[in-house]
Symmetry: C2
Subunit: 338 residues, 2 copies
């Protein structure tokens, strides 16, 4: 190809000005066509859009964000993207916000050193909202978030002292209600199998408290490192059983763990739930579709996502948020494993 016209510099991206020149209008008008076409005469809109198409112009959102101090993106900070319970939440939120012209982007915010750096990298982009999934305990970080000026939404938990906005449910209530439920079902010797994370621990402890209050003996507890890996969970259960433990039900802090327990129990010839019952948490897809449909706690992740999206949009529109803390609750599902 020889190129008919000398282009400004074949490689650089076209700018507002290129489009404006081509359409014979000012850059202001092009900007309006892009952002508020209603304010521009119809014929002009068409001419400008043609120019945009012709040049392949893609607005530079860095410049736009700088000038308008609205970045039109929201950052979601997740502890891990692997088989996370937050997926439904993220997808729901992403869809809702995309419709309104926002971009949702996920960033990994895991423990340890990188932590603060990632946070600055996110906040430095002046997001129009940030969604937290893992509860942040570090006060310095909470302060930094609060000061950032962006709306902050904590999800999947209801912090006693929220940074800003929150939508989720009470992990304590879950623990307590599961304890009652299991008691009602007639089980006597629960084993708590829990990933060592903060929220799981909250549920576990609430279970134990409630259980004792209901007249049960202090329940046995085992911890595993990862909430999603099978092997450690199987080994934990195996260890407990081999050591002579005789639980009649194991309460798991996630459905993956519960699945692993079902596998382990069957591998040793125990029937689920008659020899050993299993109770999960989360109601992830696999839980109703595996070998034994899991009794578990259902959390409506998508609802959380929607609620969070709505809050953000309200904030953006300057609407007053009547209820900065939304409790979406949970539901105990009785299936076949307990």
């Amino acid at each position: 190809m020889t190129g008919r016209k000398a282009k400004p510099s074949s490689d650089a991206q076209p700018t507002l000005e290129d489009v404006a020149r081509r359409a014979g209008v000012s850059t202001a008008t092009v900007s309006r066509v892009v952002n508020t076409p209603g304010k521009v005469a119809k014929a002009t809109v068409e001419r400008v859009q043609a120019a945009i198409a012709k040049t392949g112009y893609v607005p530079n959102l860095l410049a736009g964000g700088l000038a308008s101090s609205r970045s039109r993106f929201v950052a979601a900070l997740v502890p891990s993207i692997a088989s996370s319970v937050f997926n439904d939440t993220m997808e729901a939120m992403s869809r809702a916000l995309t419709e309104e012209g926002y971009l949702v982007m996920l960033a990994l915010l895991d423990e340890g050193p990188g932590h603060a750096g990632v946070l600055d990298a996110v906040l430095g982009r002046r997001p129009d909202g940030v969604i937290l999934t893992s509860i942040e305990d570090d006060d310095a970080i909470r302060l930094k978030l609060k000061r950032s000026g962006s709306p902050i939404i904590e999800t999947w938990g209801l912090p006693a002292n929220p940074i800003d906005l929150a939508v989720g449910f009470s992990h304590r209530d879950v623990g307590r209600d599961v304890a009652r439920h299991v008691k009602d079902l007639g089980y006597k010797r629960p084993l708590l199998l829990s990933a060592g994370m903060r929220r799981a621990r909250e549920r576990t402890e609430a279970f134990a408290r409630a259980w004792v209050k209901l007249g049960g003996a202090e329940p046995a507890k085992t911890f595993v490192e990862s909430p999603t890996r099978y092997r450690p969970a199987r080994e934990a259960l195996r260890g407990f059983l081999d050591a002579g433990g005789k639980p009649d039900i194991v309460i798991c802090s996630s459905d993956w763990l519960a699945d692993a327990c079902v596998v382990e129990a069957r591998a040793r010839g125990m029937k689920v739930p008659s020899d050993l019952a299993v109770f999960g948490f989360g109601d992830t897809h696999a839980s109703s579709e595996g070998a034994v449909p899991l009794s578990t706690v259902r959390i409506d992740g998508a609802q959380i996502g929607h609620a969070a999206a709505r809050m953000l949009l309200d904030r953006a529109a300057g609407r007053k948020i009547t209820d900065p803390i939304v409790d979406v609750g949970f539901e105990i599902l009785d299936r076949e494993s307990a």
Copy 2:
């Protein structure tokens, strides 16, 4: 709190200038302290850093990116964040790039209308790199990506005609090798169970071609919608079996599907692998840890992530990339299910 000093406007974020004034230097110097501390006298660095700490300054990366035309972030476009095989890749890449001061953010790029909008929203932020996981077939989009000026890396596949850079493996080779392997193992009547996605299809077709070439009869095929849900997979297998199909092995396009097949087979009293063997793809965590350790194809997702990160860094540093297409290969794992 009454606030001892009148602040400029209590609510606005501190800027470079605020820090500069406080440290008694010019904004240029503060900028250097932040970005290239080596070029500034030690004493000055300390003074400026103190001022930064005092003010809680977080650099506005929109402004920085605009001025330097380096955004220091890379966008990863994923079709879904739910139980994706790409997780290892993303985590590895994210870790590698975070160390170099880049932020990796994931954006959902699913099919359908939103598509183009999301793409513009991403490209408009002028990423220093974009990672594609699902192969993009739409030529308009491929063109837009190519023209964006950002390095583009296609992963998990090796397109015949890459947009820019690529790191992955050949799905055809996988299909072919699995066919040979299964043939060598002595199986006669494979059933191909595949999620309807492009790459899965590629493997499936390559398997079928190779199988026929090896003297086998054209294999039976079944499709399911989702690569990660159990129920549809179980139903598909059940339907085939109920209709009188008599496969001796089912070749699945993902380990989740394979898991589901194991569950279904056992539920009907068939032993795995003697009555029905199962072959997976991906070697996700669950595959070696479930009820029956899965024979499968191992893909090193983390390696893909690392390679992609390296390419991006090379580009950023202006180093010449000697090999724009990296084949990381794959490995056939013989475990117990086949």
